[in-house]
Symmetry: C2
Subunit: 390 residues, 2 copies
């Protein structure tokens, strides 16, 4: 790859803030982690849309997925290389109508777009945490979001909404802070990561560790072009295949060759098929906007996700959810198969909690929650309205 | 990993031959490859079971998969670290009854268990081919097998049988040499590799290339412990997940931790779940018996597999198959989904060629063709018998 590639795609203090706002937790209140350790001076980067009403009752928290960030809505521009990842869902007159709702999205703990993560300066020496960054869990992310909510004066969210890892946060919100949510929408997610999901995650971890430029996680002072970009790109390839689907890959790429290659010429081990060019393209895009250590940290948090851990198991944990729930799945999702969202529905309904399940009819696999925005938005809009009517 | 790991797990001249026999093609007849280049002095390692009858009409060719070899049947022992990969299918009184049939299995071209491949000595300088080994295709493998057949005095196989990559060879046999097969049994395979299958292959390739010990393919003179074993292990992890299934991983590993770990202690990025230990175990096993460059060569051959290439497309190519066919699929196979074997059946039946489809009822995914040996063997035995009766 090009020698010009950055060592990290993380947002760093001094970079253009764009739409981000920031809150740093008070120095005298260290943030206690699931691991038993603490983080000092945690900063959360977040964005908001709409206006919080006088009783702070119209707030909605939107939670992002693995490589997402706080820029859920709004155009690309300074500080935001891409438009919001749910820009067609969130905005004035859209499914999550910002003329009515005050919408908040924050970058998760361990992330790399303004919130404290491995690329952030360690408060003691100002150098990036790197290998010193502790393991964080989805519960840690949610407790950080709860501190942000308090900072914003929001006691109770009208709804907490998110897909994939965002949906893991949604479930943890309702279980950890049952009094602080009025409803939840977990999409294309699970109550606990399966062995196969962990296996996909493990492969990405190993690919990154295999990259000599990863340097055990302490690569931030490497010269440009010598960051752990190849390892991250391979890890991303694994994810990208699981995010999509066999049938869409066949329709889109078939057996076409990339780079004007043809199979009648001399065959080469590294001659790329079109699907490989596509995977490379996604790897290279990610390298420019993401940090390899954040990829590891967040991936591990997903593997550790199990709402039942330390709570007497799955059923006992799900029993703490007492608010109306809308869960959504995608029939073609091979990463978070729809049986996992039906399991959420079944557990809740059996326990007497109202829960609807809506299946998105899409061949696009897991990523359909970022693609089929009409199908995602319409049930959310209806659900938010029903909850408001009580 | 341990410093004692071999640089390659390839069988090398001088190693214990075990049950292998060898044939080397005459020096004055270079072996022409699909790439347009040639290989000199190609050696094929093969094994046989049973006795060829006087008219050479009872011969069956069994074709192995990616990391298989000629040891399809028989015990472990000198030269063969494991029992035959289809030992419960092939033998006296078994489904492929060696009291009746003369069974042949050879290591594929590009392999590493006695047949010419990247770890073999180059005829010019006696050093391993390494990066000099050309791309080979399934068609090259099959034409090498055809030379072996001629060497053995076998003009026509009663049947050619194989699963996964073995099944690709089976199809190519019937298309390339329609006069030399009486029937075929392609199992858990496809007529052309899909974009998703290529994508899985590409990830493994990239993981190996990422391993600094791979050295562009020229690693054979590295000291023990400095071979490209980590890259191969990561590539194998990808394959191993696709060979199995979500439900079996859940039943077998769930969210258990390996190494006596527990989630109430301090969490660590490299703390392994049980499924990771399992994947590591399979990676380490493969390293000891396989060669990284062979893994690349054979993987590329599978990605290039398309019976329609240069033959006017899929339908025209399949139209050359004029012999009774039994194809088998596995409902839980995520790598070669059963729609691909039903496609083979549908193409053949539409073209007027008799073809039965049998679905193996197993949750074990792709590997079921190596596990559910009763379900695999019984239809084969019946089919061989029917073909014999004409």
């Amino acid at each position: 790859m090009s020698a010009a590639l950055p060592v990290t795609g993380a947002w760093r203090p001094g970079d253009e803030p764009g739409q981000r706002r920031f809150v740093t937790f008070p120095h005298d209140r260290p943030f206690a982690l699931d691991t038993g350790t603490t983080l000092q001076d945690v900063t959360i980067a977040y964005e908001t849309w709409g206006r919080l009403d006088a009783t702070a009752s119209n707030a909605i928290l939107v939670c992002h997925a693995w490589t997402g960030d706080s820029h859920a809505a709004g155009p690309a521009g300074h500080g935001h290389p891409s438009p919001g990842w749910w820009d067609d869902v969130i905005g004035p007159g859209k499914a999550i109508d910002t003329d009515r709702w005050f919408v908040v999205c924050s970058n998760v703990l361990g992330g790399c777009q303004g919130t404290t993560g491995p690329a952030s300066p360690h408060p003691v020496d100002g150098l990036p945490y790197g290998s010193r960054f502790p393991v964080v869990t989805i519960r840690d992310m949610v407790r950080a979001e709860a501190r942000l909510a308090s900072h914003l004066g929001i006691d109770t969210w009208h709804a907490v909404i998110g897909g994939s890892m965002g949906g893991m946060q949604v479930l943890e919100w309702a279980i950890t802070f049952p009094q602080r949510v009025r409803s939840i929408v977990p999409i294309a997610t699970c109550a606990q990561a399966t062995a196969q999901q962990i296996a996909w995650g493990a492969i990405g971890r190993r690919a990154i560790r295999l990259d000599p430029n990863w340097r055990g996680g302490d690569y931030y002072d490497a010269p440009p072009g010598e960051g752990p970009t190849e390892g991250l790109a391979v890890a991303r390839m694994v994810a990208q295949v699981t995010f999509r689907s066999d049938n869409v890959f066949t329709d889109r790429f078939g057996r076409d060759l990339a780079d004007g290659g043809n199979l009648n010429g001399r065959l080469d081990l590294w001659q790329r098929f079109e699907v490989e060019r596509y995977l490379d393209h996604h790897g290279e895009k990610l390298i420019r906007r993401f940090d390899t250590n954040s990829y590891l940290a967040i991936g591990k948090a997903m593997d550790l996700h199990d709402v039942g851990r330390g709570r007497g198991g799955l059923k006992a944990a799900m029993g703490r959810i007492r608010v109306p729930t809308l869960t959504m799945g995608i029939w073609s999702d091979m990463l978070y198969p729809s049986y996992q969202q039906r399991q959420i529905r079944d557990l809740l309904v059996d326990l007497g909690t109202p829960c609807d399940y809506v299946e998105i009819d899409s061949p696009h696999g897991h990523d359909a929650f970022l693609i089929e925005l009409d199908q995602v938005g319409a049930p959310i809009a209806r659900f938010l309205d029903e909850v408001a009517k009580g």
